[in-house]
Subunit: 438 residues, 4 copies
């Protein structure tokens, strides 16, 4: 008897349906800009928040009491959890899933145990994937929960911790490879500092650069064709995390010559904690050639920690999806729900409500973004706005045809008196709203 | 009759003095770590907040009513302002000053006027410098106040605005060069965006890269030996500024191959608006080889805009000064007071109170930081903490002696079980406080 | 020839229209819940941002160059400004407007001048109102821009400043009364502190309490039947403003026995600067019986100052409008556009684009909120959730039927073991989105 | 063999000592302003962070591995924990301690168990107090960790949860009374909301008001003479907490007529999360007659959650202590260390380092604040600044001698032209620094 047996397979019933356990906008086969919705969005459910987290927070114990979280034999519980997870994925209909090594396999007592447990659980997952048709969007290794990682993994002051982390990443990558994962993610949850008083920034960055190089080399060695993703976050649990935001990550990758090997896995809530809009992080990554995948969630604008709520602002998601579509859409990436229900939302159905709302919001955003692309008023406006740079004078400047001195001479000779032109922000905001609500 | 005639030359009177118009800790000739305080701190007063700003804010008119801010012939007023400024610098005893082109010379009507005005005022400044012995820490160009720059200078959608800005920078750089300036600063006040809806990030970054390359080329062409500085700030007046913080600037410089030509001019208040501590921005810049100079001020931790208050936290300044001393101290840089008195502080004396308090705070910080260096408990702690990385195993990893696979094999073979070691944060915080208050 | 002559009267053309200078959703006569849209929304345009502000910010000069902002005879310019304002209001079709005394009348040289100027301009406004049918939503006095108010108005350390402010408020109130204003607003822009070091909080609160009492007494004396509104804001230009948020205002009003005489004028951007959602401030005010009116705008979630942008999030406005409708809708209040176009938006049309987008967003929100009311799933959910408090046990507790001891005895005797029930947050969020996008 | 046996009794060794396990500034018997340091500061260690918290955070498991946190019989472990706690308090020398009911006594299975466990542990604590001389600053009840409180305690939608909470508070209060506690604290950790969509603000406020009234009645009934304290916090774990800050708490108390029965327990980190300085919350509470006690800690200015770090800024603490001394010093309150070592600080000694640094910082602050009082330049400045309000004109206004109309007539008749006077902020900041560093 399944934990989710009260929940039917979630189906598309259209906007008129009153059934909360149905999609109202997400119709996987519906074609948008010539491609199926499902193939555009590449939706993934995550293991950790949905199956591992017990509903605890720093001020209180878990409220969920899922059966597989009860005390018991770890491997048996891991299998029960996998049954529940794939049952959930199947009922929900997300074509992909994502996991950390220790979400699916018990950490065990030492590395030998760890390796065995991962190997055993990869067999289980492989079978589940085959049975259900659900695919792996990405795997990753948890290098932040165990006390050994309290001072970081790759950036730990002890090289033995680096080696422990390397072992986990090797096996998590190989598991991802075997399971046909489309990407492998590195999140440096404790790669940062709690205080500068005990921290050598230069050393730690060197360690991190070396770690990434080893990961890239291993990827090629084993023939993994997926994308290596790095996930920016500014802080929490650390005071400061080295992968602060997309622009910081770009500098790091350039420092170590990795900018062609790694792309970003962007999370909405991480963007806002870093002082940026989600839209900004996506647009910045795209402009730097770094865009990879999305952890689709939202933060609380009034709370200063990672709340990982289900994304439900069609207004925000439309702009993000527009940028992604303009850049050619997802390659190996997708929208992964790195989201959790609120601690009060303890019913099994709540896991469905959260995902359904987010999926419908993305479907709505996709359709609106497609309209924006079809008749791209924003692109037209920009083309006119920057037209001068496509002309002879602008091109000559950009191609190095002037020195500062010669350009200044020119400006003086022609008595340039450029006048400000309206940036049209309100007009453009209205146009976007017409795409959304028109 | 000077505006400041009620204020005597500010002298060092020691901690016991009750005279608010005296230094209590800053004794320019006092030797700290073998060098004069004055030579360590390289203090500069700024022109803009102190002589140009009338005490206005977005909600109200100016409260200061300085004589040289009254209506009148612009060049005559510019000369009066220069008299007042050098009178102030001389009474205060800051060895350096800093300016924007339009702080010292009226913008005029068109570029020809501008060039003439700057040339005339450089003569005036040169004479003033010679008379007083006061030197130029850096010059810069104001590329943000005039309406033509509403949509940016180098990143403007109109190439003619780029050219106008280039003309200003050329003349401001040449003025700085002629006046013996130790550095030239670029602050991209409007190099950013108000909305992504009308902005092409990639284009604008290309424009900015081109502008920097032209500046560097011109610097070498005219034989200017000073340092080119870039000043990170996350936002305000723009929604987002491209020079967000030191790490972002590093990525930008790497993208255009400029990382060896440009250093950072870090401002405390910009650091905190970017979500970082001032200490962080200094330590990060140093670790990236980017550190140049400081705009010494402070923000209000509860207010989300640039308040540019006088720095007065000895606790914060001690850590910052410690990092700077550890990195070898200032080269061409210095502590520039990019600070303004509060709008209510309308008395002429208030300009002195602000600076005196900040200078004394820096002197206190310098002495405490010197103690920290002399018996460097933090360095000792770090050396022990990272000792493993100096050993054979750590060095081999860092030098590329392991692949991910061979390191994982090693870890497994040796059954590594590294255990967490205390990071000692509270102990180190206490040690710092003992340096400050011991 | 009008400044706005290129702009036609803005009319409702429906969602299908491509005309940016038309309403797509706001149809004044359309009935929603039995009342005309216009009568629900009570839209007002403001004088200050739209006609007084020149497009300047702390980093740069004005970009707008409106004709009536050019140098000239102040009273003549004030009349030109009034012509432009009522021309704008008429073309736009907002039924109400709002002003500060010094927006409409030159401050003059001293109080006698001030009183004369206000009197003269009230005549002008009265005539304009009669000609156009446009009504006054509220008037207020500017007690923050002049240097005399640098340290506050009612909370100024000088009683003469209090008296000056009292004079302005008296005349601004009487002008509002004569012009048939529906409300009178008090915004304490400088009623707060820049530093606690020079501030006596208790004294200043007493002064403010006295000021409010005098205002209330005067209201009754002159027979003004409108509502006195107080406008919470946490800070800016002050470090801390006494009217921080709705809950703080409630405490202040209770302290001086004014809670039945004053209501709140809530601004979205002030709410978010105070660390609250706009929805929170509205719901809190309603729950405290304080709700009065709205300054409809939005802030930038990433910028820490008051950006006063046009509201365009239908998602946010729907929740706010739902709360207002549930509480019975506006009494004397309305949605006032305390909004400004971006500094780059310098074309006359931009003023229309900003308002049109905001008005359409409010119209969309109104229709969606009405749907929420008609079939109120949120109210149903709450009724079930709190049902226990409507039962005998809950009622007895609330009515004082238990002491702590007797209730504890009871709980122990019955061995209460209450279990957590799902709060349904994700379900409810989905329901709201179905109202918006269904 | 004690867990802390490597740590000697902490003694005052003076500023010259290099011993990190000694006080350098805190000398309990030293007289400051005629009173012993110990009697001024009334220092308390807390149970929860120091003995209950295992070093976990939302991203990782506990790092501390304290012996009493290992699995075992709950009552036996509770006794071991008490042994460790009083051993720690005795070695450290804090004269007071603080606890939640469930910190000291296992929650048990149901209320009968709970009551028995609390009773048994009160016996243990009473004996420990007698043996060591350590006193109870305050007790409280944990109404936020158990899943039953997920939706609040007094503000829970289920009255049975209210009753369960009432039972805990009754017994925690009676325990506090029996143990001679100087205060009883109410912290509404989950008294707030996660979403407005399921929340009735008015109902929940009524429930909370009723709960407080019952608590006050019980206090008087049992003859408890201590102070009832309320602890403001803006959010976390809730999205919004009803006890947002001191000003909000004042409004709540006034609404229910409780303002003479309850005082504030202010926490530094809660103040900054609410957007205020710690200084602000203390000064505000004092000005409202609400000041009670302090949870002495600090937050991280760059992190948006409650970090509860040890306070170590003498600069900040001096201003806070100055306010407290000016208001007459603590009554029943004190400085309670609601602080935790960093998760990386896993050594037993780290618990001492954290407290020692904080205690020395408070001792330094006390001495500096005493100097500020002895020659109170701030008070002198304020007296001059507000002198007008003590004069006839000011007093007449405050006492109601003018109406708005008569005051305006007066101002007009006398042609008042008040001029702005400097607020002296920089001068005052320098004076404070001279007290600290002079």
């Amino acid at each position: 008897m399944s934990y989710f047996s009260n929940v039917p397979k979630i189906r598309y019933e259209g906007p008129g349906s009153d059934n909360p356990l149905a999609f109202h906008h997400y119709d996987p086969d519906k074609r948008v800009l010539g491609k199926r919705m499902e193939d555009h969005l590449r939706l993934a459910s995550c293991y950790w928040h949905t199956f591992v987290w017990p509903g605890s927070d720093v001020f209180g114990a878990g409220t969920f009491a899922r059966p597989w979280q009860q005390p018991g034999d770890p491997m048996a519980r891991a299998r029960e959890k996998t049954d529940a997870a794939f049952d959930f994925f199947s009922r929900l209909g997300t074509p992909f899933y994502t996991f950390h090594d220790t979400d699916v396999a018990p950490e065990g007592d030492g590395l030998a145990d760890y390796v065995n447990n991962v190997a055993a659980m990869v067999d289980v997952l492989e079978k589940k994937q085959a049975e259900t048709g659900i695919k792996l969007l990405w795997g990753t290794a948890n290098l932040f929960s165990h006390p050994r990682y309290a001072a970081g993994a790759a950036t730990n002051p002890q090289p033995e911790v680096f080696a422990y982390a390397a072992t986990q990443v090797r096996h998590a990558m190989e598991a991802t490879h075997r399971l046909g994962g489309a990407n492998y993610v590195l999140w440096g949850g404790r790669e940062g500092y709690d205080t500068l008083l005990n921290t050598d920034l230069k050393r730690e960055r060197e360690q991190l650069g070396r770690f990434f190089k080893m990961v890239i080399e291993h990827k090629h060695r084993i023939g993994f064709k997926g994308t290596i993703l790095i996930e920016p976050k500014p802080q929490e649990p650390t005071k400061h995390q080295y992968d602060y935001d997309a622009a910081t990550v770009y500098g790091f990758l350039k420092e170590f010559g990795l900018e062609n090997e790694v792309k970003t896995n962007l999370e909405a809530n991480h963007a806002t904690l870093a002082g940026h809009s989600f839209h900004h992080e996506v647009a910045t990554s795209i402009s730097l050639g770094l865009f990879g995948s999305i952890d689709a969630n939202r933060g609380d604008p009034q709370n200063g920690w990672d709340t990982d709520q289900f994304p439900n602002s069609v207004e925000e998601l439309t702009l993000v999806t527009y940028e992604i579509l303009k850049s050619g859409g997802f390659g190996t990436g997708g929208f992964n729900f790195d989201t959790k229900v609120r601690r009060q939302s303890s019913a099994p159905e709540d896991l469905f409500h959260g995902h359904i709302g987010a999926i419908d919001a993305l479907a709505l955003a996709l359709e609106r973004a497609a309209r924006m692309i079809e008749r791209d008023a924003l692109a037209d406006f920009k083309a006119k706005r920057y037209a001068g740079w496509d002309g002879e004078f602008g091109s000559t400047i950009l191609q190095g045809g002037y020195t500062l001195a010669s350009l200044a001479d020119d400006a003086l000779a022609h008595d340039f008196r450029p006048r400000h032109v309206s940036g049209g922000q309100e007009l453009l905001e209205n146009i976007v709203n017409r795409y959304i609500y028109g």
